[in-house]
């Protein structure tokens, strides 16, 4: 094979994952990959994930896309975290921020000192010691600073219209050389010896050949699931939600929240995602505990603002393929795995897979099993870590007001999560890793936010003079409040630059 001939990549599916994959490969590997994408106007796009994680900024930047242009096209707003309501207990809420809480002191994490202050009845809510939480709750936003000041202690992401993000990536992808084919796949051709996919046949008789196929066909998982029959690891016993009823509404308030809201419901939870011109709403529920009609009715009555459409029901199942890369087929997005959008991880998980695919992109000589193994191992690690973190949101609760909450409160959790929980309960410590998603501050936010306090915290907190500790914590809280009061409002900051605003529709 010619050392310099680009590999022919065929992306199946024109949703968010498909166009992100195609555009990234075409833009970042122009000499290594020629990219074709097959999509059909007859197949709807799920458009999962209107809320994102800070990693998306690096991803978009790497493609050379300007933030303002991207925000304008997708009606995006800024996001500082997620407000979780009624999860630990009805009436309680907390923000999981893209930022930290306080500062380590003498080698001991801030949350240990907070637990000590709390024991003495001298602690404000944990969020008041986080610049990110305080700014979010005040509906204020400005980009973090680059120095070591308080204003550098947070990150941000976007909340955008996923049905606009796909087309934006399509336009970008076509501008960097992706060839689009309209059509439905009717047959998959495979090599008799290797089992590799060799070509896809379309309903109009065209035959699209390729060296590498990226399955972005969503839950259908046409290649990885249907054709290659890659085993599915089902996680619904830990994450029972399997449906979502989505319904956009008008904004009900003048302010635009720089955060996503997740409110626990009797059989799941509902999201509120503020965009520039509207509010995204949806009820993620378990069909084992409520039916679709009831869920649609529930979201209709819970949503604030005027409905802009009828509720639309999406179906899914949590889990992942045991191998996301098999033969010469790589699954990206829903074709490879699904985790409900409770922590806005859908787009991250697709981008993560794309990033690893680029790092491990096959050499012209063919796919090395070692590279496939490396990819699958990385993808599994990412999915498994997110999975445990999601399960925590359901399990760490005192709610006993519905069968759904009784189930998740009392279910057996994976051992990997069970050990983390026990370590926290007994010592206030977090199992540490540096790869993947969700580090210490995230776990602390959810544990404390959902009322799961440890029984014990670090003995060293008792050695600081109580008055000095109290004064230092109070000083931090006041500094944060004062910094936040100088920040512009979220809407004000958004509107300061018209280049990031979409035309009023």
């Amino acid at each position: 094979m010619d050392r310099h001939a680009p590999l022919k990549v065929v992306v199946l599916g024109g949703g968010t994952a498909g166009w992100m994959t195609a555009a990234s490969l075409a833009k970042l590997l122009p000499d290594r990959a020629s990219v074709d994408l097959i999509e059909s106007e007859d197949i709807g796009i799920i458009g999962v994930g209107e809320a994102t994680l800070p990693h998306i900024r690096g991803f978009v930047e790497r493609l050379g896309i300007r933030e303002a242009e991207f925000m304008k096209a997708t009606h995006a707003t800024y996001k500082l975290g997620i407000d979780f309501r009624d999860f630990g207990r009805i009436g309680e809420s907390y923000i999981h921020p893209f930022g930290s809480f306080g500062e380590e002191l003498a080698g001991v994490g801030f949350h240990h000192y907070w637990l000590e202050l709390q024991r003495r009845g001298e602690a404000a809510p944990l969020g008041e010691y986080s610049m990110c939480v305080a700014a979010a709750l005040a509906n204020r936003f400005q980009p973090p600073s680059q120095d070591l000041s308080l204003s550098s202690t947070y990150g941000y992401a976007y909340q955008f219209d996923a049905t606009l993000f796909g087309p934006f990536m399509r336009q970008f992808g076509q501008s960097v050389g992706v060839t689009r084919h309209e059509g439905l796949v009717t047959n998959v051709e495979r090599d008799g010896d290797t089992g590799n996919v060799t070509a896809l046949l379309l309903n109009d008789g065209r035959r699209i050949e390729g060296d590498l196929f990226v399955d972005c066909s969503g839950f259908r998982s046409l290649l990885l699931g249907q054709e290659l029959d890659e085993e599915w690891e089902d996680w619904s016993h830990w994450l029972p939600c399997d449906r979502a009823a989505a319904m956009p509404c008008t904004h009900a308030t003048e302010d635009i929240r720089p955060y996503t809201t997740a409110t626990a419901m009797p059989a799941g939870w509902r999201w509120q995602i503020p965009l520039q011109h509207r509010m995204g709403n949806g009820y993620v529920f378990s069909s084992a505990f409520t039916d679709e009609d009831a869920a649609c009715e529930a979201i209709r009555s819970a949503a604030e603002g005027e409905p802009l459409a009828d509720p639309r029901v999406l179906r899914f199942r949590p889990g992942r393929r045991r191998r996301s890369w098999s033969h010469n087929v790589v699954g990206v997005g829903l074709a490879s795995g699904f985790l409900e959008p409770l922590e806005s991880t859908s787009i991250y998980l697709a981008q993560m897979a794309i990033t690893y695919l680029i790092e491990l992109f096959p050499e012209p000589g063919g796919i090395e099993p070692a590279d496939r193994d490396a990819f699958n191992q990385l993808v599994d690690m990412e999915y498994d870590r997110v999975r445990d973190f999601l399960i925590l949101h359901y399990h760490a609760t005192t709610r006993d007001d519905s069968e759904f909450w009784n189930h998740v409160r009392t279910m057996t959790v994976p051992d990997s999560l069970g050990d983390k929980l026990e370590l926290w309960r007994k010592t206030g410590r977090i199992e540490k890793y540096s790869d993947g998603l969700f580090f210490d501050a995230s776990w602390i936010a959810v544990y404390v936010g959902q009322g799961l306090l440890p029984q014990r915290h670090d003995s060293r907190t008792g050695m600081v003079d109580p008055e000095r500790l109290k004064a230092a914590a109070e000083r931090l809280r006041r500094e944060i409040a004062s910094e936040v009061s100088r920040m512009p409002g979220h809407r004000e900051y958004l509107e300061r630059e018209t280049s990031r605003l979409a035309e009023a529709s």
């Binding site: 080698g107 010592t427 540096s434 790869d435």
Partner: protein, 486 residues
């Protein structure tokens, strides 16, 4: 409601070397109300961490947190700075490469490297250009600690310190005395177990019964306390690490240099470590090399010959006993990792400091992380023995799976898998493999670099390097100036 854990009442640190001393100092500072007793048993056997005259960059940050003043180390312990280690002859006899603390500078620079030089030793078109600020400075022998009053590129430089071990130890002894750390110097007569996998107390000759809530074993390879526990077990590394004896030469002439050298000879590896108190020369050999051949390669009669039986304890924290440094893992002093491992274990202990009641899961989490630290340390050493020439000198060894995967990914794909708890950053690991002469193929993205971006990165680096050179005096002059009696 969460309660603070009941503090440890007494901690016994067993050992008398620099690891035990720094451990006692760190614990004393962390727990001012806890009695810290140093049980000064002399290290037995090849205590490479205790006798180390250098470490990695992590030690500088640990020292800083523990109040061990670097300027005092320069003034009283002959401390000097190492920015790089130069490797000679590992992939082939005439191959050479440079490992810089802190690794390479940025993705764009790497892309340029990939394109221009393929990252390997077989370069066409002349000398490889410097890949990092550290390399630029090492090549011309210029460096100084960054000035406090203005910003210079020197503050971007990572470095390791070397020192005179007896003088450094004396400095730690003085420090420990100031902190009021108790000191007992007498042999252990009996060790009494507590029935829960740990130790209740010790009978000390002439002094009697010594109890503690926590015992930290820094006693050296004998692991006096840890090895007395019922579930003590070790993991043998000798199939992967072939060095069996280490020959140490008497200190040579004082030498001020920003680099150390590690050369692979026909007999084994030879370290030449610069020092203001004299050049330190260490030779490591495998089973194939006779004492006679080793002494000839060392070029002088050794002042010490130490056996190496590489391995680690299965669980460094058992019951209420934690093994740190030489008592947890033994391996040759090849890449300045012995004391670095001890210091990172100490840091982990400080992070996870228990209360009086130790929870099994905190022990498990400590053992998981300390285990990763030890295994990634073994893997960094194993990279050395996986080079083509080392395989001839030492013979074929068992290459750990993680090393096989990393080498395959590095050579074939130009990437390095992420290793949790490794002594080196991912960039540094790649730099080390480059220094050992592994040829790295371009990663997919480097094959399609944006030429404009590469040129810009190159220009930016050149500017930065010039600014660094302007800010840095010749290192020997700087050392002379700061050590001049005022």
């Amino acid at each position: 409601m969460s309660e603070p854990r009941e503090p440890l009442r007494r901690i016994v640190v067993a050992g008398s070397g620099q690891v035990a001393l720094l451990t006692a100092i760190a614990l004393r500072r962390a727990l001012p109300a806890t009695e810290v007793v140093l049980l000064a048993v002399a290290p037995q056997g090849p205590a490479f961490a205790d006798f180390a005259a250098t470490s990695l960059a992590f030690t500088a940050s640990l020292h800083d947190r523990l109040g061990i003043d670097e300027e005092r180390m320069i003034a009283t312990a002959a401390a000097s700075h190492r920015l790089s280690t130069r490797y000679f002859g590992w992939s082939s006899q005439d191959q050479r490469g440079l490992f810089a603390h802190g690794g390479w500078n940025g993705r764009a620079m790497r892309a340029r490297f990939g394109r221009d030089w393929g990252g390997g030793p077989n370069i066409e078109g002349g000398e490889r250009p410097a890949g990092s600020l550290a390399e630029v400075l090492t090549d011309v022998g210029r460096f100084a600690l960054p000035p406090a009053d203005r910003e210079t590129p020197l503050s971007l430089i990572e470095y390791a310190l070397r020192w005179n071990p007896p003088a450094y130890r004396a400095l730690l002894v003085e420090h420990a005395g100031q902190l009021g750390i108790g000191h007992v110097q007498a042999p252990i007569e009996t060790i009494e177990r507590d029935g829960a996998g740990g130790i209740r107390g010790l009978n000390i000759q002439g002094l009697g019964w010594l109890e503690a809530d926590l015992f930290v074993d820094c006693s050296g390879p004998a692991a006096l306390l840890a090895s007395a526990l019922p579930d003590f077990a070790t993991i043998d590394w000798s199939a992967s690490l072939p060095t069996r004896r280490v020959f140490i030469a008497a200190a040579g002439e004082p030498m001020i240099a920003l680099e150390d050298r590690i050369t692979l000879l026909e007999e084994g590896w030879l370290i030449e470590q610069a020092g203001r108190d004299g050049l330190l020369t260490i030779l490591g050999v495998g089973e194939r090399t006779s004492d006679q051949a080793a002494i000839a390669a060392l070029g002088t009669n050794p002042i010490a010959v130490m056996p190496v039986s590489p391995g680690r304890v299965a669980e460094p924290w058992q019951g209420n006993v934690i093994a740190i440094g030489d008592s947890s893992a033994q391996f040759e002093p090849l890449a300045n990792l012995n004391l670095d491992l001890a210091h990172r274990q100490l840091d982990l202990l400080l992070e996870m400091l228990p209360g009086r009641g130790i929870e099994p899961l905190e022990r498990a989490e400590y053992n998981r992380r300390a285990g990763l630290m030890m295994d990634t340390t073994r893997d960094l050493l194993a990279f050395h023995y996986a080079t083509p020439r080392a395989r001839r000198v030492f013979g074929e060894v068992e290459v750990p799976e993680a090393v096989q995967i990393a080498l395959d990914q590095f050579v074939r794909r130009g990437r390095m898998p992420f290793h949790e708890e490794s002594a080196l950053l991912r960039e540094e690991e790649m730099d080390l493999l480059g220094a050992l002469g592994f040829e790295r193929r371009m990663s997919p993205q480097e094959g399609s670099p944006d030429p404009g971006g590469v040129e810009a990165a190159q220009a930016e680096f050149a500017t930065l390097a010039n600014r660094a050179l302007e800010a840095a005096p010749p290192y020997a002059e700087w050392i002379a100036a700061v050590t001049q009696p005022s």
